[in-house]
């Protein structure tokens, strides 16, 4: 269910040339901000929660998820190169699973690792805040990758749709309409963080069991449907 060649090609498509630049810049911004805040303010748990939850988990993780998830398959479908991959004797679910693995790995490396580093810089992991947000970032990476990979197979405007979900649904609607928060990867991930660091002031709107079930369902269902979608893929011409 994992093909090294497909994985190698996907890694190259995601990290080749200038594309990796944007992926390196985002975590770098987070670490720089953390260092600056630590120097200016000193270690403070409330500040750490604000930076990691309000900035890193809310904007950085979904953005990296969009780039990695849709970037793993979108451009190939877009320029028709996917035909050569589909013509090989590989099962479609194998292709999807391999690409999902790569997308998850890339998202985790560029979001969870900087999250841990930033958390450590901000307050030296007091009250397990750094670890809690890293756990949340790991869970979110998996779910975001699956969702955005599915979007990449469904629509040619996958990046825009992914951003609409990440920015408008989670950030804008989530802050206005409480119900929208129940259906948000960010809140499910926060539920895990809440459990990991019970003392810290991390709040999620979703209970832990619900969050775990929803995360698993979204990931598995998204991957399964992406595999199905790839079997009936119609190649659209250039608009």
């Amino acid at each position: 269910m994992y093909d090294p060649t497909v994985a190698r090609l996907t890694y190259r498509a995601l990290l080749g040339r200038r594309r990796a630049l944007i992926l390196f810049v985002l975590p770098a911004v987070l670490v720089v901000i953390s260092v600056a805040i630590r120097l200016l303010v000193g270690a403070d748990d409330a500040v750490a929660t604000e930076v990691l939850g309000g900035f890193a988990l809310a904007t950085m993780v979904p953005l990296i998820g969009v780039i990695a998830g849709t970037g793993a398959i979108g451009p190939e479908i877009d320029d028709g190169a996917i035909v050569y991959l589909l013509a090989k004797p590989l099962k479609r679910p194998t292709i999807i699973l391999t690409k999902l693995t790569v997308a998850i790995a890339v998202t985790m490396v560029f979001s969870a690792v900087p999250m841990l580093v930033a958390g450590w810089i901000l307050n030296g992991n007091s009250q397990q805040i750094a670890v809690a947000y890293t756990v949340a970032a790991v869970a979110a990476s998996i779910a975001y990758s699956a969702v955005f990979l599915l979007l990449g197979t469904v629509s040619r405007h996958a990046v825009v749709l992914g951003l609409v979900y990440a920015l408008i649904w989670e950030a804008l609607f989530g802050s206005l309409v409480p119900g929208a928060r129940t259906l948000s990867v960010q809140q499910w991930a926060l539920a895990l963080a809440e459990k990991t660091a019970p003392g810290a002031n991390i709040a999620s709107d979703v209970g832990l069991p619900t969050a775990v079930v929803l995360l698993a369902v979204v990931t598995v269902a998204g991957t399964w449907y992406a595999g199905r979608k790839l079997r009936t893929l119609t190649l659209a011409g250039e608009e």
Binding site: V25, I33, T70, L163
Partner: protein, 307 residues
């Protein structure tokens, strides 16, 4: 099977008579040539129409117009609220505030249209074809920049017009509304030129549309959220004076500070710290500098593009 030649081998044609190049009637073009400014104008209109999907497939019209509808809808609601509320003196949201409030939608529009304006030319290597016409690099960049800025300006102005017309129909104070509307237009003009430049530069760097979209959004939102987070922390730590300076670091907060300093807009900065006179001057310099930097970056990008 080819039939065997039955007759004697063909006699070579006598020289000078049949072995001439036939004149099949090609003519020179003697008519008027439309020239450089016409080509530039065509590129401008084509790019501007393209930014709303006009002249492209039906599918590519969907996204810009859906976003435009989302953009105008809250303006309609504001007018409706003012109409229903007895004795309303002003609209709930000021004209200058509106663009900042709707930044995610504007960002998405820019991110979806800037790459389609420039990335596809790079990817399908049509840039050399443009330059085989009588236009120079300056014309291409100017036309694309002007088209994107105008498209953004129209996108942001549409809801302002709805608000203005609605406000006058509800018989709010004419003078107040007109001043506010003009201030809103001025802010929108600066906003459009700045954001169009940023969007075009970022998307001209990649021939991949998808990466362009994500990169534009990242450049617009990540600094904005970073700035807001740090501003909130600075305010909470009692160093409110730093808030205005921090606002210089992202396009969104730059516009917020600029409008509150010069166009009488309420600021969205935490603690309501508006930039003072000195900081306001720095805001203007940074905005002008960014626009100039975008222009020169685009000019540099097309020095060797696609060749």
């Amino acid at each position: 099977m080819r039939p065997e030649p039955t007759t004697t081998p063909a006699v070579p044609a006598p020289r000078g008579e049949d072995a001439s190049i036939h004149n099949i009637g090609y003519r020179h073009y003697d008519g008027p040539r439309l020239g450089r400014s016409y080509a530039r104008r065509s590129l401008l209109t084509q790019s501007l129409r393209g930014a709303y999907g006009l002249g492209r497939s039906a599918k590519s019209k969907v996204l810009p117009f859906v976003l435009l509808a989302v953009m105008v809808l809250p303006a309609g609601i504001l007018v409706a609220v003012a109409a229903v509320t007895p004795g309303a003196k002003a609209l709930e949201v000021q004209y200058t505030e509106y663009a900042l409030m709707m930044q995610p939608v504007i960002g998405l529009y820019l991110a979806s249209q800037a790459p389609q304006s420039v990335s596809r030319d790079l990817r399908f290597r049509t840039v050399p074809l443009y330059f085989s016409r009588p236009i120079e690099r300056v014309d291409y960049v100017a036309a694309k920049y002007a088209a994107m800025a105008s498209a953004l300006f129209l996108f942001v102005t549409a809801p302002l017009v709805v608000m203005y017309v609605g406000a006058l129909l509800v018989e709010l104070d004419f003078g107040d509304q007109t001043t506010g509307f003009l201030q809103g237009l001025a802010g929108t003009a600066v906003f459009s030129v700045l954001h169009a430049g940023i969007g075009l530069v970022v998307s001209a760097l990649t021939p991949r549309r998808g990466f362009g979209v994500a990169a534009v959004i990242a450049v617009l939102t990540i600094p904005y959220f970073a700035v807001t987070t740090v501003q909130v922390i600075a305010e909470a730590q009692g160093s409110g004076g730093a808030v205005a300076w921090l606002g210089l670091a992202s396009p969104g907060s730059l516009m917020d500070g600029f409008q509150s300093a010069f166009l009488g807009a309420p600021t969205g900065f935490p603690g309501g710290h508006e930039p003072g006179t000195a900081v306001a001057a720095v805001y203007v310099l940074v905005i002008l500098g960014l626009i100039a930097a975008c222009w020169f970056a685009l000019m540099g990008r097309y020095r060797k593009a696609g060749l």
